[in-house]
């Protein structure tokens, strides 16, 4: 039977799952090499200071300790971590050295690496390293940064690294004449991706072959390979980075961190394989933080509720250094503040502040989560001020289908112009209201039931995806008729193997079971970009389509010789090549595998979009918020697999709820991290948010790739902060409670209630 185009769109179970649930996954902690040693990292417990001395002699005296690596061992210049994205020269002074060199700038900064027979011995040795640091005043808040309590990089003279400017139209002029202007300050707390499996590496140096192999790569293996090879002075071919199973990434895992250099370098120095497994405390202080944003913004509209403009200043606290992708959040928060709404006049500045805290990077929906909180709060405040229903106000301002493509604000100093590609924003908005049951539930607004006040909110969002410039694949039709697909995309647990097999099966018209997706080694294809910016499906999947076309041509050519016809006369159908009643099965078609390479190039982002509605109930006595329902409706252009997509959407929403209510990396004024474990850094747990629903539509395919797909999977969380704050405000509207800051922790809500009640008592 012919199986044509039957996999894309089907809820195929993940091929990865059987392996995982049977305990046969291989995570980096499962990788062991003969004769391996263990590395443990000495990290600064001082937020800011000058390293006076490091004395490792007592540590080295401990039985089982092989080496203690410090900055001195790394030659005259300690390697710096380069920027993978937006590599602006003016950011060079803020690059992080792989080991603290003379100065420490955050709690958790690597100072030395102990290599020993076991991790326990290495930890014993850590306590014996005599470290002398002269503390400097720390910068832990915006006020301290602006007052220059210290300047982190003296040469620069200020704690403002750079300022991004997003602009469109003429904001100053527009604000002068606007009917309605409201100015507010908002704040989103520092939090971060806490994937279930912390990071880790096993590195092995083969002296005889001059070859370095590193297990534990993720996300951007090719870029990291180039960086590492350059830092170690090795040829690209001498370095192989290998991806194994990973327990989550969310933007944070797989970026080039100090350990990406330190563990391979250590293996080379000691001449034995070295293994490092990050523990949770290390993860919390060393992997990228995110979302630490404050702003002072103005919003302008006409009396009848047409949005006019956004203007103001944002401060993005980037921590002590700028690492690989540290500009993305600060840029996005300015460039995408207008979201899915028409906004003619924009003048937003986003300053990147250096502080003595862990460096920040991208975390699912970078900058968007923050900026959607700001914008959606502003819209609800405007609705209240203008006395226009907030559903109607949003409807009036969503970008219309006819306005597509719709250009977003321009941005400097690193141009990344982009336009909303396609969409029926209104249709999705209306569908969300319907799925959610807005009308019916509206009766509950402001009501108190069993001590809980009920509230609703709605908000729309856009989700950029498919960052370029390209992705490569190599397709191999094996002699037995099976298809191997080698890819440069990488898996961070999003079901890559399943989705790519679906796409390849349809493209080659062969059964799904006959396809093997191979990713995870920098030797599989020449170049690869990886998994970020919701790009794998669109970029890798489109490359597969192009590769399939080429492979079919090669099959036609090969078969033509045997069938005695021209290649264009060969018909490919049902795993065979045919001409004039003669058929040659793919199995046995050729004595050697048939192989093609293809690359998909694209610089235009895809823009998935959606609307979410929420129903919460608030206990003003405890400040507790019960999330009763979250409904998410999004259009992803083309849905490859509804099962994995909904898993992504719901998981993403839960992460968003974590950020809205629970997760907070708290520092004191001296730059000490106070939330060093999961006892204090609160993650959402299984029982916290039971009711989340997701509906996916395919209204408007993406015009910029052959699949018609749009990057998806980050989207779910983008509107959640704003949605929850608006729902809480709605529930407590009788008190006019207006949250301007996340997280919506019980004490914060209680405080707002107390203040509102005090204000009412005064009035």
């Amino acid at each position: 039977m012919k199986v044509f185009n039957s996999y894309i769109g089907r809820p195929m179970e993940r091929v990865e799952d059987l392996r995982m649930v049977r305990g046969r996954g291989t995570y980096v902690a499962d990788v062991n090499r003969p004769n391996q040693l263990y590395a443990v990292i000495l990290r600064s417990s001082t937020a800011h200071g000058i390293i006076k001395s490091i004395d490792s002699s007592e540590a080295l005296a401990l039985a089982g300790v092989h080496h203690v690596l410090t900055a001195k061992d790394l030659g005259n210049e300690v390697p710096l971590i380069p920027l993978r994205l937006q590599p602006l020269p003016q950011l060079e002074p803020f690059h992080q050295p792989v080991l603290a060199d003379k100065k420490v700038r955050y709690v958790g900064e690597p100072i030395a690496v102990v290599i020993a027979e076991s991790a326990a011995i290495a930890e014993d040795a850590l306590e014996r390293i005599a470290l002398e640091i002269d503390p400097l005043p720390a910068v832990a808040t915006r006020a301290q940064a602006e007052a220059k309590r210290s300047v982190l990089f003296e040469g620069h003279g200020s704690n403002v690294a750079i300022t991004w400017k997003a602009f469109r139209g003429d904001a100053d002029e527009a604000f002068k004449t606007a009917d309605y202007v409201r100015r507010e300050t908002f704040r989103v707390q520092r939090h971060a991706a806490m994937f279930m499996e912390p990071r880790g590496f096993v590195a092995e140096w083969d002296e005889a072959a001059g070859k370095l192999t590193v297990w534990g790569a993720a996300k951007t293996a090719w870029y990291n390979r180039r960086t590492l090879a350059a830092q170690l002075g090795l040829e690209l071919e001498a370095v192989d980075l290998i991806e194994v199973d990973v327990g989550g990434g969310f933007g944070s895992r797989g970026e080039f961190y100090p350990e990406d250099y330190l563990i391979p370098a250590a293996a080379r120095i000691v001449g034995r394989p070295v293994k490092w497994t990050e523990d949770r405390r290390e993860h919390i202080m060393s992997a990228n933080h995110a979302r630490d944003v404050e702003c002072d913004v103005e919003f302008a509209a006409t009396r009848d509720g047409r949005f006019i403009g956004l203007r103001g200043q944002i401060w993005s606290d980037i921590g002590a250094y700028i690492r690989t992708n540290g500009s993305v959040g600060p840029r996005n928060v300015a460039q995408y503040m207008s979201g899915p709404y028409c906004m003619e006049h924009i003048d937003l500045k986003s300053s990147m502040l250096t502080t003595n805290k862990t460096p920040c990077g991208t975390y699912r929906g970078p900058g968007r989560y923050e900026t959607d909180f700001i914008r959606e709060r502003m819209i609800d405040l405007a609705a209240q001020d203008l006395k226009i229903d907030r559903v109607e106000l949003r409807r009036r301002n969503l970008v219309a289908d006819a306005q597509m493509p719709y250009t977003l604000a321009s941005i400097t100093p690193y141009d990344s112009s982009t336009e909303l590609d396609s969409g029926d924003y209104h249709a999705v908005f209306d569908r969300c209201l319907k799925e959610f049951g807005w009308e019916e539930r509206s009766k509950l607004r402001g009501q108190s039931i069993d001590g809980y006040y009920h509230g609703l909110a709605i908000g729309s969002f856009i989700e950029g995806g498919a960052a370029g410039p390209k992705e490569e694949v190599r397709l191999v039709l094996e002699t037995d008729g099976a298809l191997s697909v080698y890819m440069g995309s990488s898996s961070v647990g999003q079901g890559l193997e399943t989705i790519m097999a679906q796409i390849a099966a349809d493209a080659m018209e062969i059964p799904y079971e006959k396809i093997t997706i191979l990713h995870g080694s920098t030797s599989y294809v020449k170049d690869g970009y990886g998994a970020y910016h919701s790009r794998s499906t669109v970029m890798g999947g489109s490359a597969i389509l192009l590769g399939a076309e080429k492979l079919k041509e090669l099959i036609q050519q090969t078969a033509a010789q045997r069938l005695g016809c021209k290649s264009e006369e060969v018909v490919i159908d049902g795993e065979q090549a045919s001409f004039g009643g003669n058929h040659i099965a793919f199995a046995g078609l050729s004595e050697t595998p048939l192989e093609v390479e293809a690359a998909f190039f694209n610089k235009k982002y895809t823009w998935a979009y959606g609307t979410q509605a929420a129903h919460v109930a608030v206990d003003p006595g405890t400040g507790h918020v019960k999330v009763i329902d979250v409904m998410s409706v999004e259009d992803v252009g083309r849905m490859i697999n509804p099962l994995t997509l909904h898993g992504q959407a719901i998981g993403s929403i839960v992460q968003g709820l974590g950020g809205a209510f629970l997760e907070h990396l708290v520092y004191d004024d001296e730059g000490q991290l106070l939330t060093g474990s999961f006892a204090d850094y609160l993650m959402p747990t299984a029982s916290d948010f039971p009711s989340i629903r997701s509906v996916t539509l395919e209204l408007k395919p993406c015009p910029n790739n052959p699949l018609g797909a749009k990057g998806a999977g980050e989207g779910g969380l983008i509107p959640i902060g704003g949605l929850m704050a608006n729902a809480v405000a709605d529930a407590l509207s009788h008190l006019n409670v207006q949250p301007m800051e996340l997280p919506l922790s019980p004490p914060r809500i209680w405080q707002l209630v107390e203040e509102a009640e005090a204000a009412r008592a005064r009035a």
């Binding site: 930890e123 306590e127 405390r281 474990s677 747990t685 405080q751 107390e754």
Partner: protein, 285 residues
């Protein structure tokens, strides 16, 4: 997060355990369920030379219920309390409070003795011990002593236990069938240590007046405390909304909880008042 090197012993008698503790001059520690101690070792916040495991002291694992109340052996686990149907009658306040302790896995290991000896100011079991005038049975080199909960808890994670002493039993006095009670706490997530919690009970005299009110609070001081001023508001009076409001207001005034990263002290004080008000209503329903 690897624990430092330690020696390990699992004695067969309490006497042996005590002498092992005594032999190390403060450098030995009892391990019971390990649910608080193991994380402390992994974080290297504690580094005892020797761990003395109580796992073979089977006798300490019993829940004994008699005329004079409930006796919980130090090795009684949360899940043992949870699954003991007798407690719903013999000590409903205890049964209700323990439902709030931690998560499934931890409840399968964590013990009464470990919790009381650890003396976390937010923990439920110390709160119940304090509220119910529990008597602690303690065995050391000097012999056996009995101490009232009020004297046992001395500060944050501090008790009157000497370095060579083992807590063997917590005795909760008998529970009259008609007793009114409530336990309420508020935690950020299910299973977390409470931001604050209130345990209360009282009896009614022939005129429906409150007698012998006991109100305990957790999470609001350096140790579990009794809210004696609020108790005084209740005693001798009939329950009413006005009385509840007065007792709650008194509770809020009478405490001064410390602030930490999770909440300002003022929030915890207000929370205790809220929980007390709700608890009193519930107890009267």
């Amino acid at each position: 997060m690897k624990p430092p090197i330690f020696e390990y012993a699992s004695p067969l008698t309490v006497a042996e355990a005590v002498s092992l503790l005594a032999s190390r001059n403060g450098n030995a520690k009892v391990i019971s369920g390990g649910q608080s101690l193991m994380p402390m070792l992994a974080f290297r916040l504690a580094a005892p030379e020797l761990l003395v495991d109580l796992k073979h002291l089977k006798d300490l694992g019993a829940i004994r219920i008699g005329e004079d109340g409930v006796r919980l052996g130090a090795r009684v686990r949360w899940c043992d309390i949870e699954s003991d149907a007798r407690l719903a009658v013999s000590h409903p306040l205890l049964a209700e409070a323990i439902k709030h302790v931690a998560h499934y896995q931890i409840r399968n290991r964590g013990t009464v003795g470990g919790s009381v000896a650890h003396a976390d100011p937010s923990a439920e079991m110390p709160g119940i011990a304090m509220t119910c005038d529990a008597q602690m049975k303690i065995v050391g080199s000097a012999g056996t002593r009995i101490e009232a909960a009020a004297d046992f808890f001395t500060g944050p994670l501090q008790t009157s236990l000497e370095q060579d002493e083992i807590l063997t039993e917590v005795h909760l006095p008998a529970w009259p069938a008609a007793r009114r009670w409530a336990f309420l706490e508020f935690a950020r997530r299910k299973g977390d240590f409470a931001m604050a919690g209130v345990a209360l009970y009282y009896d009614l005299d022939s005129g429906s007046r409150i007698t012998d009110a006991h109100i305990g609070a957790i999470g609001v001081a350096d140790r579990p405390i009794r809210l004696t001023e609020a108790e005084a508001v209740l005693n001798g009076n009939q329950m009413s909304d006005k009385l509840i409001a007065a007792a709650s207001a008194k509770a809020r005034q009478s405490i001064d909880p410390p602030s930490d990263i999770h909440a300002p002290g003022a929030y915890r004080a207000a929370l205790v008042a809220t929980l007390l008000g709700r608890g009193l209503k519930k107890s009267a329903a």
